[in-house]
Assembly symmetry: C2
Homo-oligomer: 302 residues x 2
């Protein structure tokens, strides 16, 4: 259905970050979430099955191509449809790659030791089952328990984004729990920073491990963000969930703006399935992201 | 390959717990993990693909049937093989059900709101994609963020096991982080207990939410376990990971022994692929579990 484009995607060998930085030069930093929830499929008059998912992905991809450089499928909404849903996700990733898009699987996987490694091998890099370029992971069983997964990312050139500070209110107790005199979020941020510093695959001062930081946290995330000098930030929650691009400028210090990947999901799909409408709303967010977050890039790019 | 047995599996309508209690009367409480890691498939001389997974499941199921009432596939080791791996898992669950076994998917899924609900709908109950009878979940984004998933469990009669206190050393900082003057583990245990008390689907004083408590924690888990009067406990880590059935007798107060589901994985598959050897080692663990944990059942059964 899509013409295979000829630009080379640089993957393998520590290259998620370089590919992201390259795509960002063309399209800006915006990431578009692919969230085919029942609610969205229903409002788009699509069926709750493989066919509906495929149509959803085709429509949204058509609108996204040429507007952004990275997409973030929410794995839960594909897994909801079982084996067929995951087949549709696998095909989405393949087609997105053919179009030069990077794919960050929002899988929030997390487990101990060999099991975490298995999740890494399932998702990350061109020889994995799903071939994502990066994934989100859950550190509840300990940051160090994720290291076997992080090693897979380093070997395959993929990115890992640890959920450090989500912005949902239900998570507040846990992200602010104290380890010594530090919050859990700050503890995780320090673990990431320390790991990145000693990683053999630094790229433009960015280590292999990124951080997920909610867009609506405002000053609550200040101390955590300050620890993260050498990581990309995946920042979901822009748009329908309450975050705005302008808030990000206040949430992140200027020196780190260039590391922010703002992500929009529901506000895009709420526009409906009409391609022109979708392109317009994607354009608006992409331009906002480009202008607000990139304004200082020429000053602070390494 | 297997003859469909005629005993009725009681599922739907809040029935994971009743089906577990019924199976336990016949087989005792032991749960067998299905962990087809690369290491195990290699040592069993099986291929790293759908065929290898199917053979692994067939062999282990043959050894398990008639010995235990519940199995726990580790989802990571199926997801490792992508869509085909998850197809093999789906088929394992179907065949296990035909044999009267309950299936607890060790998926450790966790996310916020609608996404958590999607994971519940993907995994739990007879109308879900994978049709598991219960699943493990990860509470890092807040206990309350799991409630949409728990509601799915209540509606479909499935079980949910929240990771409360894992026994891996890397998790110690996080599970002991303080919320007020309580550890995160105790906080989660209280959330579970409170939810179970008000749940409309109590069964024999057991609520729909169970807790995962590592087998090697010993007295470190005492205060957490004390909060959990009305939940089943999934207790992994017996055998190769260092826990023994005898330790459980000291770890759990006698009044709660009847709620413990000890789970063995690697110690079973380490016996190799010979059916007789597998049956022997399963028998040994099943008898240990039966005699050590059930000795007080006649006194304390509700």
């Amino acid at each position: 259905m899509y013409r295979k484009i000829e630009t080379e995607i640089v993957l393998g060998g520590g290259m998620f970050r370089s590919a992201f930085l390259k795509n960002r030069e063309i399209y800006g930093p915006l990431c578009i979430g692919f969230d085919p929830s029942h609610q969205v499929l229903h409002s788009w008059k699509l069926s709750f099955d493989y066919k509906g998912l495929k149509d959803f992905c085709d429509i949204l991809l058509t609108a996204v191509i040429g507007k952004v450089g990275i997409i973030k499928p929410q794995v839960a909404f594909f897994e909801l449809y079982g084996v067929e849903g995951l087949q549709a996700l696998k095909e989405l990733i393949e087609i997105a790659h053919e179009q030069g898009l990077l794919v960050l699987a929002d899988a929030k996987r997390g487990d101990i030791g060999s099991t975490a490694e298995a999740y890494g091998k399932a998702w990350l890099g061109p020889s994995s089952a799903f071939k994502a370029d990066a994934m989100t992971v859950n550190p509840f069983l300990g940051f160090d328990a994720l290291i076997p997964l992080i090693k897979v990312a380093e070997e395959t050139g993929a990115g890992v984004f640890v959920v450090v500070q989500s912005s949902n209110p239900e998570g507040k107790h846990i992200r602010n729990a104290l380890i010594g005199d530090q919050t859990l979020s700050i503890h995780l941020a320090q673990c990431i920073c320390d790991y990145n510093i000693q990683s053999r695959v630094m790229h433009h001062n960015l280590g292999p491990i990124g951080a997920v930081i909610g867009a609506t946290l405002g000053s609550e995330s200040k101390d955590t963000i300050e620890q993260l000098k050498n990581s990309l930030f995946l920042v979901p929650g822009i748009g329908a969930q309450g975050g705005t691009m302008l808030q990000l400028v206040h949430q992140f210090p200027q020196s780190l703006w260039q590391n922010v990947i703002p992500s929009v999901s529901r506000s895009i799909t709420d526009a409906g399935r009409n391609i022109v409408d979708l392109k317009n709303v994607i354009n608006d967010f992409a331009e906002q992201a480009q202008s607000t977050l990139m304004s200082c890039q020429s000053l602070s790019m390494p």
